[in-house]
């Protein structure tokens, strides 16, 4: 392994890491929004729409991201929707992540005991106020562990983006290996950069979980 090669490649990987991070963060934000909306639709058993949500969740969770990306990237232009690779990447991640987030939030919502809801009602709270002040705060803290696991999972899934020619970390590494045969240095940098992105997230996750355990509910 040659240090000078690593130093020379560093700016390329930095740029790729920023793209990975940017697409990952935007995709995950959309996934959280989709997940929260889907979870609420299922929790409140909204007629008809909740069946559509169930179909979406099964479709999203039981197909690989790579194939979802191909559908979005090659399929959408066929039906006349022009788009670019970055938007496709974000859309793919949101489509996949939405269902995982929905399941995480749903388990949190279902873990809130009925008596909490009834107590809120008996204090005169409307269903809206009950959701906002009583159900959601409790549901979100119980769904924190699966939520953090999903964030890490989705960030890792961004490595598939190289398949639709997004110049992310994976793409950059493969590109450099193909061009210069510097396999060791490229793969080393690839691993290091993924760790730089994911380790802080992972540590943040365990910190939040620990905090939540201290603030643990129960009687």
């Amino acid at each position: 392994m040659r240090i000078d090669v690593i130093v020379r490649y560093l700016p390329l990987f930095k740029k790729a890491a920023l793209l990975t991070l940017k697409l990952g963060i935007i995709g995950i934000i959309f996934a959280i929004l989709i997940g929260l909306i889907c979870a609420l639709i299922q929790y409140y058993k909204v007629p008809i729409i909740r069946h559509l949500v169930a179909v979406y969740i099964e479709l999203s969770r039981n197909t690989p991201l790579l194939i979802q990306l191909f559908f979005i990237y090659y399929g959408l232009p066929k039906i006349g929707i022009s788009t670019n690779a970055e938007i496709c990447g974000i859309a793919g991640l949101a489509f996949l992540g939405g269902s995982y987030m929905a399941e995480a939030f749903r388990s949190g919502l279902e873990a809130v005991p009925d008596i909490q809801v009834e107590s809120a009602y008996s204090l005169g709270m409307s269903p809206m106020q009950t959701a906002f002040y009583i159900i959601l705060p409790q549901a979100i803290s119980t769904s924190m562990p699966p939520f953090m696991a999903n964030v890490i999972f989705l960030l890792k899934e961004t490595s598939v983006f190289s398949a639709i020619s997004l110049m992310d970390l994976m793409f950059t590494a493969k590109d450099l290996i193909g061009l210069y045969y510097k396999t060791t240095e490229s793969l080393f940098l690839l691993v290091v950069f993924y760790l730089i992105i994911l380790l802080p997230v992972s540590l943040l996750g365990s910190y939040i979980e620990r905090r939540l355990r201290y603030a643990g509910f129960g009687s």
């Binding site: 009834e118 008996s122 204090l123 005169g124 106020q129 603030a215 009687s219």
Partner: protein
């Protein structure tokens, strides 16, 4: 006779084909303390839940100061503000401090001034001996303390009627007393209450009127002295006997 606050008129409550309340009627006057007793599964808790519109009824009517309580009503939250309820299980909101548990509904539902609500909440906590726990979280309290906070939470809405659903049933014996004392104080201050309980001594001490419920019907109703000392029906007699114990010491020899 004082004004009628709550009128329960011939209500029917069914879960599928199982009739839980079968034609219950009674009036509650202002300032009156009603104790509802009866064997498990007789419909006591369901009765309270119907009065607070947590359960729809299949027949009859419940009116609070002339307004019908109907779970399908849009105006439900307004009615529920007039009826406070304390449940058997500790039902404080675990993510909120003791003080916030008490102030959130008066602030958000009744839109009262937060400063004023906080002052009232602290005064009420003082009265139940928990002023120093205002900033604790529910998990840091004992069962009895939690139940006292739950009572304060209901009180802070200034309800016309308070419902207590076996509030001491899940408590350790020495904690039962502190909760019952709070309720005795409330009765002494003229609160209108309906209490479901298995504490017969307490029922005798606090009740203006006892209602004995069995199999979804009112079997006997009357003042506590005549009910506990001279029950009129065999069913009530049999029920009250389950609280008496014959000594078995002489068998040991």
């Amino acid at each position: 006779m004082k004004d009628i606050l709550l009128k329960v008129d011939n209500i029917i409550k069914r879960f599928d084909n199982n009739t839980v309340l079968n034609g219950i009627s009674f009036d509650v006057h202002k300032g009156e303390v009603i104790v509802v007793v009866g064997p498990s599964g007789c419909g006591k808790s369901t009765l309270l839940r119907c009065i607070n519109a947590l359960e729809p009824i299949q027949g009859g009517s419940i009116t609070l100061e002339g307004e019908t309580i109907n779970p399908a009503d849009k105006n439900l939250t307004a009615l529920r503000q007039k009826v406070g309820m304390v449940f058997q299980s500790y039902d404080l909101f675990p993510h909120l401090s003791v003080l916030r548990n008490i102030t959130i509904a008066p602030e958000k539902v009744q839109k009262r001034n937060p400063k004023e609500v906080e002052k009232e909440a602290l005064a009420l906590l003082e009265r139940v001996g928990l002023r120093d726990r205002a900033n604790s979280f529910p998990r840091e309290l004992s069962g009895g303390q939690k139940q006292r906070v739950a009572i304060v939470r209901a009180l802070c809405m200034n309800p016309d009627l308070l419902l207590f659903d076996e509030v001491t049933a899940a408590l350790d014996p020495e904690m039962v007393r502190e909760v019952l004392d709070v309720m005795l104080n409330l009765a002494a201050s003229g609160r209108t209450m309906i209490i479901v309980t298995h504490e017969m001594q307490f029922a005798k001490a606090i009740a203006d009127r006892v209602i004995f419920l069995d199999a979804g019907q009112i079997v006997e109703e009357g003042d506590p002295i005549s009910f506990f000392e001279h029950p009129q029906t065999d069913r009530a007699q049999k029920f009250l006997n389950t609280f008496e114990f014959e000594s078995v010491k002489n068998h040991e020899k």
